[in-house]
Structures are given as structure tokens and as C-alpha cells.
Subunit: 120 residues, 2 copies
DNA sequence: ACTCTATTCAACCAACTAGTTGACAAAGCC
DNA sequence: GGCTTTGTCAACTAGTTGGTTGAATAGAGT
């Protein structure tokens, strides 16, 4: 599973884990507090949290026998950066192609999706 | 594997698949063109593309026996939206907490742990 | 028709995942 | 000291994943 980005994406591929992240965005919570709403065992949730922790999405504190879990927002930036890079690249390419087609022959620029120049 | 968001995250959890997306951001390519740079078999790449397709990240066209693969940029928005929601939420909460701690006692604003959960 | 190229389908395998139960450590409560 | 709460670790299981090879389909090139 090598790199962090893989771990992050993999961690968020599970709906339960995304749910936990959603819950933690509201505020820190202990393992058993997090486990309470779910049908699964506390151990299962503990495992999920371990996955999130190894991905750097979450960190655990210490309060007696409790382990308050805290969401680490910075890691999201890693993902966002990766996504934005290729999204923009693809978008730019798409628009370039659109322009080229339009220049070549207005009749042939029928590349399916959204046409842009709405002023007819 | 229920929902789309899970499929998208899961699809991008694999470095080879992320690599394919990166390649496709530059421009469309056939399966064998995409497979060429890798040590794995064409079948393996075909499988990867199937995963990306099922996640809605990619679509396949038809050019004789070739299947030009095309990156679908829109799906990225789904992820970005999910991420942004919780990143901002967590960030906002963090800044709020920081302000509170600073107001209480400038010496103690080192956070990391803070008692009193928000729990229900 | 024969062959080559491009792609997928099918069966199989090793490694991982998400869950289980049971045992255990650590820290408060009585 | 003994019990309870909180969390993790270990062993096991069923299902999924990423890879393999071999066969099948589909369209050109000759």
C-alpha cells in the first residue's frame, strides 16, 4: 500500500470511515462514543480508526483510559491538490479541443457535452 | 461497495489507477497504449480501467477494435465537494477553539487535547 | 479465408479487508 | 483490593482485490 495518498484514498473508500470523519468534523470524540451509533463491535470501529490514523487523517490523544480522536484537516489538502491537478488539466484540454474544433469547422464541433457560446 | 463515492475513492486508492488518470488527463488513449508503460499484462490494465469506469472516472469510446479511453472530469467534483465540506468544518472548529484558548489564557493555547467532548 | 491486433472474459491464486469473538492492559470507581 | 470502563491485540473467517495465464470475440490488412 506504499504511499500516503493511497492510504488516504483507501481509508475514505469505506462509508463507515467517511462517516466517522463526518462525525469528527463536528468535534473530537472517544472511541466508544464513535462506536455507539453503529451496529458493529467497538473493536471494528477501533480498527477503522487505526486505518484513518495510519492515513494521517486522524490522531489520538490521551485522557485517562480514553483516547479522544481528533480530525487532522491538513491531509485533505494532499488529496485536493492531486485532484485539482488532473481535473484542471483535463478541463483545460477539453476547452482547448473545443476551441480547435470550433476554429476548424463550426459544424463539426458537436463533441457531445456542453457547448459554451450560448449567444445564438 | 454500495455508493459512487466509495467506488471513486476506492478506484483512486491504487497508484497504478491514479497513474492512468494522470496519463488520461493529458489526452485520450487506447487500452494498449495505456498498458504499454507498465510491467503488468494488458488484461490487468483492462481490469483497472473497468474499475475506473465503474467509478464514473472514465468512459470508453469505439474506434474499430480500439476502445479510446476518456477521462470524465465531472466526477472529481463529487469528491472535492465531500472533502471540502469536512475540511472547512474542521478548520472552522479549529480556529474557533484556538480563539477560545487564546482568550482564556495565552499560555495554555497549545491544544492537542481538550476535555469536554461535544457528544450527544 | 487467414492472420494480426485490440480487448475482454474466465478460472485461478496470494494477499488483503472488514468483520467476528476472546483475552488482556490500564486507569478510574466503590 | 476488586470491579468496571475503555481500548487494543490476537486468531479466525468470508469476501474482495490485483495479479496471472489461456481462450474468445471483433475488426482490419493482405
Amino acid at each position: 500500500m506504499s504511499d500516503q495518498l493511497s492510504r488516504v484514498f483507501s481509508a475514505l473508500a469505506d462509508p463507515t470511515r467517511r462517516d466517522l470523519v463526518a462525525r469528527l468534523a463536528v468535534g473530537d470524540a472517544t472511541v466508544s462514543q464513535l462506536a455507539a451509533p453503529y451496529a458493529v463491535s467497538v473493536q471494528a470501529v477501533s480498527k477503522h480508526l487505526k486505518v484513518l490514523e495510519e492515513a494521517g487523517l486522524v490522531s489520538k490523544g490521551r485522557d485517562a483510559q480514553r483516547r479522544p480522536v481528533h480530525l487532522e484537516a491538513e491531509v485533505f489538502d494532499l488529496m485536493t491538490k492531486w485532484i485539482e491537478r488532473y481535473r484542471q488539466q483535463a478541463e483545460a484540454r477539453y476547452q482547448r479541443l473545443d476551441a480547435v474544433l470550433a476554429e476548424m469547422d463550426p459544424d463539426q464541433s458537436d463533441r457531445q457535452r456542453h457547448a459554451e457560446g450560448t449567444a445564438s
